[in-house]
Each structure stands twice: as C-alpha cells, then as structure tokens.
Assembly symmetry: C2
Homo-oligomer: 359 residues x 2
C-alpha cells in the first residue's frame, strides 16, 4: 500500500525531533535522517517479509459457573508479527484504550498503514493484545446470565461503557464541540465512521483489582525476555502498573494520552528505573466545557517532576511544543501518524536501547 | 516456524484424496502431488511475504442509546492478508463458530501453523472476520445497561452462551465422556487449556433476523469481487445464508462441521448454483448420551440429496470415509490440520476454479 507525505511534513517531523533529542542522542547527520524519512515515505511499500506470526494467550483463570461447567476468564489474547529483518532488539507491545481493541494499531480509518505495520517495517517485532475483558480476550458473562435468571440483582450488573460518537468527538479532540472540526485537525474526519465501527463495549468495571491486564502485560514482557510496553488512553499507564507487578521483562514505557496516575514514593523509585515517554497531542485546552485534558497534562507534569527527582529518564512530549500541530487523542490513526511513530521509534532507539538512530 | 509431519501422514493424506477426487478432477500425477506435499511439510518455513495486510469493517448501523449518544452496532471486523504470490485467484473468508473468534484460524493451541497462514502460503488471500456481536466486532451493550438501571426487566436480557470445558469436550468430540480422550484423537489435548482460552461469551441471542453477519458476509464477498466463504460449527451455513441474501460475490461455499439447515425448494435452486463442500470429522457416533452429530450428518445427507437433485455440485466429505481418522470438531486446530487444509485447497482448485491441482 503506497502512502504519501508532503516533504514539508517530513521536514516538520524531523527537524524539531533533532532539536529535541540533540542533547541525549549520539551525533547524527540531519541530512541522513531527512533522506531516510523522505525515501521511506515517497516509495511504494515493498512486500512485508514476516519471519513468524501468530497469536496466543497470557494468563486466565478457571471459574466455576454451574454444575459441571467451568470457563476461563481474564485471559489476554495477543497477536504478533516478527519481521524477517530485526533492526531493533526489543519488541514493542501496543495496548489499546477504552472501548477499543487491538484494531487501534492496524489500518487507519482512511486506509493507511497503522503503527503496527510501520514498526514492523522498521524491524521491530510487534505484539498487539486485546485487554482482558475485551475483544478476542472475552469477558465474564456470568453476571449477565445470573441477572437474567434472578440470581443476581440487576442493579449489581457491571456498567458497560459504550463510547458514543458524541463522547468520542469531545474526548478524542476532533473539534471544540460535536460536529465542529478544528481547522488543523489531523484525524481523518472524512472516515470518522470507521473509527465509530472500532468502538466496542467496555465491561472493565467487572474486573478485579489489580486489573488482570496489568498482570498479563508483565507476564508477556517476561515471556518475551524484554519488551517496550506502550499503552494508550485508558491503558496509558497499564505498562507502569505492569512494571510494578512484574518488572523482569520491562525495558521501556510509553504512555500515549493518559492522565498520569499517582504513586507512592516507593513506587516512583521503582518506576524511575524504566525509561519513560509520555506523549500528548494538540488542542488540550480547546474542548468546550471540558478540563479533562489540561488536568491530565498537569498531572503528567507532576509525575515527570517526581520521576526526575528520583533520577529517572522520563520525557514529556507535547507535540505542539516541537511544532507538530493538530493531533487528536487517536494520534496512531491521525494523518501524520507515521510522523509520530518516527518520534517513538527514535525515542526507543536512543533512550531504551542507547543506539544511534536509524540503523 | 518449522513444522513436522511424518511421511506416513503425508501418504495417508494424499492417496485417499486422489481416489476421492479422481472422477471430478483433471488428471494429475500422484507422485507429483506426493512430492509437493512432502517437500512443503519437511522444510522449515521460509519467511512469509505479504503484499498487503490490514483490517476494516463491513456493515454496522447507528443506534440511539441516550440523549446525545449514538453508537454503532452490528458492524463486522475483518482482518486480512494478501500474499505476494497469489497462486489462486479467489480469496477465502474464514468465519469462526459459537463462543469463538477469528483466533480459530490462527496459531493452533500447541503452537503450530493455523489454516489462515497455511492458505496464505498456498497463495490465497485470507480474510478473517469476527462475527457481528463478538470479539473485535463488539456487541450491543444497551440491554445490560438498561437492566442495570431498571429500564429493562432483567428477565429480558439476552442469554449469553459461555461454552464450558465440559460442553466443549463433548460437542467438540475430544472423547466419549468428559476427561476421557479417544485413543486416536487428533486434537492436541495436552494444550486444550489454550482452546479454553479461546472460548469467549456468545451474545448472538440479541441479534436481529437475519443475522447481520449473514448480510455482512455477502457484502464482504461482493467487495472482494469474488470469494470462497467458509463457516464453522455455528457459522457453518452462514455462507449459504449470505449467498441467498447477496450472491454477487459468492463463488464457493465450505461448511465445516455444521448441521445442515433446511431451505425452501426455491432456495435450494439458488444454492445449487454454488459449488459446496461439507466436511465432517470422526467419532460422530461415539459421544456418550449425544445424538447431536449423527443427526447433523443425516441432515447434511438430506441437504446434499436435495442440492444434487437440483443439479448442484455438492460434496459431503466425511473424513473417515477416505481413511482420515480421529478428527475433532476443531479440525482446523487438530494435529493433522494441514492435511485437512490440503483437501480444502484442492477442492477449491478443482470445484470452484476448475484448475488442475497444485499450481
């Protein structure tokens, strides 16, 4: 699938990145980087060469749901692809947010390449879970059946979150009010219906504490003998919780667009041992009637200050600060999604693997 | 991922196939076929070369679920891969059964290659949906929320089918009774827990008539400009219902292990225009206390007789009849799953595309 990108986008992508990363990175030729990005974006994609692909489950426990009836709940489905050429050493686990599934990282609503394939084409193995309780991981349907037969008061059913079009428009920052679109909006709004197709019921309210996805993510990282864990929105800090439960396989943490949770000083000390990247898009202050995003960003500034005080390597990347404008909450599907992906790939190279960029 | 197969298996696979297909097929050298299968199974797999991959949705409709709250329901998620070399002209759509998802056709419980990748490696594009109402296609959570808030009597909640270990053991024919395994069982029973991980709640009871998956399958086939549609178990006849709703893109029909539905004479006339393959495994009569499978098979004999009377090309393939023993209901995950896949690929070549085998 060929894809297009204007040279101006390329320049806007790379130059601020070089500025932002110059202090921490080994020296690199700006022209080399520009040439590399330019070539990659202007050429029709060659075939994708996969060394191995498939799917498996992590975690899960048996629940007795009746006489002679046991089922598995809380398991986590993981789909993966390993490229033939692995330029990077560490695989990347990409976890979706509320009311979505692993689909988040696949083909964009307007039919372009998603982050999963782009990371693969940059030589990284990619693992895409569905959160425990969602999508192909299933959920625990027992309360629904018990309510139906009168064995559970219906008032005790778990609330199921269905993200509406109106909810998404506001929370995902497509425009100031429902139906209005920011002039520089990067989300492919002509195809927003395809995003609405991706929005599925979220019954996480029935999950125990800790969320099984946290535990399963840690188990997955250990099973992979090292991985970068990425979360988005609802799951933005799931990688951090996973690292606190089971740090063995965790090598780096990426949070895309999540308000930063609060932790104890002891937890902050532990989290400071993992290179961490926190990313936000544009228009945080521009949603009419909502303080959600300014609050989230302020929480993250606080989190970053705590981790830095503990000696950690943590980066708070607010895209407009490096000249990248108009990104929504769904930046992995935005029109400039590969530009953002480049920033993440570069951050992994330099902050997690301490290697020069663009092998 | 290399995989192994004993030469005896290869011979058991191919010789009965040649016998079974000899009448309908163009002449082929038995030794050529043997050599081909033998080579393919004895060699470590070369990398998989993908021309294009991704995912998209078919269908879906808007539902008003509250003031300023609209959601999409009944959409169907479809994941696909197109190989770099397409030996076959027609893509294959593989649909899963009750209480399962598209995972059915991926990595087997014991870590071997599933039908999706095997078909790809034979040059066919593969499309894997999650049924509307399941997995990444989502479901309509409105009744659950309405019951919780008292706006719907809990007794009107849709029943949700959770296939238990005990249910699966019997219906999937792992052995005569729960815990007992047929001596020649082909399902990888040491890894049956990985199958239990795949079994997820099935809320199809809330779907309207006709099942949106039927309509969406027909739309998908038309969008693909022609496809072979395969269903399994619950969905075994979904391809036939899809063909009745929208025949434009339907080129061939495969039903794996489903009791054959009944149709009107007019519908039989229409269905007789599509080459159809109906497949059953072993031990149909060997489940203690169950007449489910003998009944299903008898229904299919009746269906086949009707379609043949209408001049249709329909094949009822009972694997033990050609010497292939021990197959479960989950034959796409059985130890000899690729042997069965070969039968399907050969059937598509000869009955749908009217081409010599093994290009």
């Amino acid at each position: 699938m060929p894809f297009k990108c204007r040279a101006a986008d390329v320049i806007r992508s790379v130059v601020p990145l070089l500025v932002a990363l110059a202090a921490a990175s080994p020296p690199a030729s700006a022209q080399d980087v520009l040439d590399y990005h330019h070539w990659l974006r202007q050429h029709p994609m060659p075939p994708l060469v996969i060394r191995e692909q498939g799917s498996f489950f992590v975690g899960g426990q048996t629940k007795h749901v009746g006489a002679d009836a046991d089922v598995t709940i809380y398991q986590m489905y993981v789909q993966y692809q390993i490229p033939d050429q692995r330029m990077g050493h560490l695989p990347v686990v990409m976890l979706h947010g509320c009311c979505l599934s692993g689909k988040t990282y696949e083909t964009t609503p307007d039919g372009r390449m998603g982050w999963a394939e782009y990371f693969l084409r940059h030589g990284r193995a990619v693992y895409i879970p569905d959160q425990s309780g969602r999508g192909r991981s299933g959920y625990d349907a027992t309360p629904i059946n018990q309510a139906r037969t009168g064995d559970l008061p219906a008032s005790e059913l778990p609330p199921v979150t269905q993200a509406s079009y109106q909810f998404a428009w506001s929370v995902f920052r497509f425009g100031p009010t429902y139906g209005a679109v920011f002039p520089n909006e990067q989300f492919p709004m002509k195809h927003v219906d395809e995003l609405f197709n991706q929005m599925i019921p979220d019954i996480n309210a029935e999950l125990p504490t800790p969320n099984p996805t946290w535990t399963n993510l840690g188990t997955l990282a250990e099973k992979l003998n090292g991985a970068v864990l990425m979360g988005h929105s609802q799951s933005g800090f799931f990688p951090l919780h996973a690292a606190l439960i089971n740090p063995k396989g965790v090598r780096g943490l990426i949070s895309v667009e999540h308000t930063c949770d609060t932790f104890t000083p002891d937890e902050i000390t532990k989290l400071a041992t993992f290179p961490t990247l926190i990313v936000f898009g544009d228009h945080l202050d521009d949603i009419v009637g909502s303080t959600q995003w300014p609050t989230a960003f302020a929480n993250c500034e606080n989190y970053v200050a705590q981790v830095k005080a503990a000696g950690g390597d943590v980066t708070l990347l607010h895209l407009p600060d490096i000249g990248i404008r108009g990104n929504s909450h769904m930046m992995m599907q935005d029109k400039n999604n590969l530009q953002i992906a480049d920033l993440l790939l570069d951050w992994i190279d330099t902050h997690v693997e301490h290697r020069p960029r663009h092998h």
